[in-house]
Amino acid sequence: MPLVLPPSVLGFYLLVAFSPQHGVGKWLLETFNIQFVFSFQGLVLASVIYSMPFMIGPVRSALQQLPKSLAQASYTLGKTEWQTFRYVLLPNIKPSLFTAIVLTFAHTLGEFGVVLMIGGNIPGITRVASIAVYDSVENMDYASANTYSLILFGITFMMVMSVFIYNKTQTKSPLE
């Protein structure tokens, strides 16, 4: 669902779910003194929920592409499912895993709707880069907006390049 839901809708439901006035949010606050709404922890949780499918999709697809016999060979050697995953399957999907981690992080970095909903826009606590850009434009402070945007652009560009270079070194030509 997080893949297809508008971010603001997902953010709204998370806001309602974790509201300290009732339900789960109230219980968390009273029992563990944790408040997810308008807090940094809330931002992290919402980002994880929102971005998880972008991570799971490529990783699951990479695992499905591995020959079944790899896991079967490991089982016949007496290894458990966890050992097989840790020592055989995971190392053999490294490029896909790296791509998924970097792209998910980059995607999260630019998230706007969800984080604004659950985090608000509290300077020093929940104001993230993408919201800062929006704020600067709202205040007609184009110089700051430009600086923030350039930093985000630079970080994202470096991430995409690192994925591209890493995958190029890891992937062999079929003719080799």
């Binding site: 020959p67 089982y75 016949t76 050697l77 007496g78 055989v88 053999n92 490294k94």
Partner: protein
């Protein structure tokens, strides 16, 4: 004694057919499994290993029940611990030759002996992609032997080896099978290929409803 009585539905291009095997095999023997493509040779090996479940059946190894579908008993592949040589080798791309064997056993001396038998000592730091087809196949055999299996299941294990290498390896394997008292089930298209292995039994899965 290994008692096998299994029935497995197979799906193929020609529709459905049944793989039925009911036989007893002496432990410590070498059994050749023969039959045309698609008849269920690999499936038969995987059923013994616990990697595939049959519709119906019982497998008993030295009075230990590995499988009884009516009693819903089925030992996991990890507990059966059969040595399995896969037709596609199923080597782990991230591990080198030495690491393949270390993944299977902690016995350093045994690893060194296996490397010597497979003539892979000088290639111990090589990953599978840097090995020839024959070297990969030998590594697959050594990895299966590394766990000193009670039952060894080999799916076309010598197909990529040249004649000389095959003969040398077979001599060593005969010695190892006898030392480990392993029972080997070997799938082979070539009826002559295994004649130097002193086969003790032979089954042709091509014969319908094999009993």
């Amino acid at each position: 004694m290994i008692s096998i009585d299994i029935e497995k539905k197979l799906k193929g291009y020609g529709g459905q057919q049944w793989l039925k095997v009911k036989r007893d095999f002496a432990t410590g023997g070498i059994i050749q499994i023969h039959g045309p493509s698609g008849i269920g040779k690999t499936t038969f090996l995987k059923i013994i290993a616990g990697l595939i479940q049959p519709e119906k059946g019982i497998i008993k190894v030295d009075d230990v029940l590995w499988l009884d579908t009516s009693a819903k008993i089925s030992l996991s592949p990890q507990k059966r611990k059969t040595g399995f040589v896969f037709q596609d080798y199923a080597l782990f791309p991230n591990l080198n030759v030495q690491q393949h064997l270390e993944y299977a056993t902690n016995d350093k001396e045994w690893i060194q002996r296996l490397l010597h038998i497979g003539k892979l000592e000088t290639l111990s730091t090589h990953k599978p992609e840097y090995l020839s087809g024959g070297q990969q196949q030998r590594l697959a055999i050594l990895r299966a032997l590394a766990i000193k299996p009670q039952i060894l299941l080999m799916d076309e294990p010598f197909s990529a080896l040249d004649k000389q290498m095959k003969l040398e390896l077979i001599v060593e394997l005969k010695q190892l099978f006898s030392e480990l008292a392993s029972t080997a089930f070997i799938v082979s298209h070539n009826l002559q290929e295994l004649e130097n292995l002193d086969l003790t039994d032979f089954i042709d899965l091509g014969k319908a409803n094999f009993y």
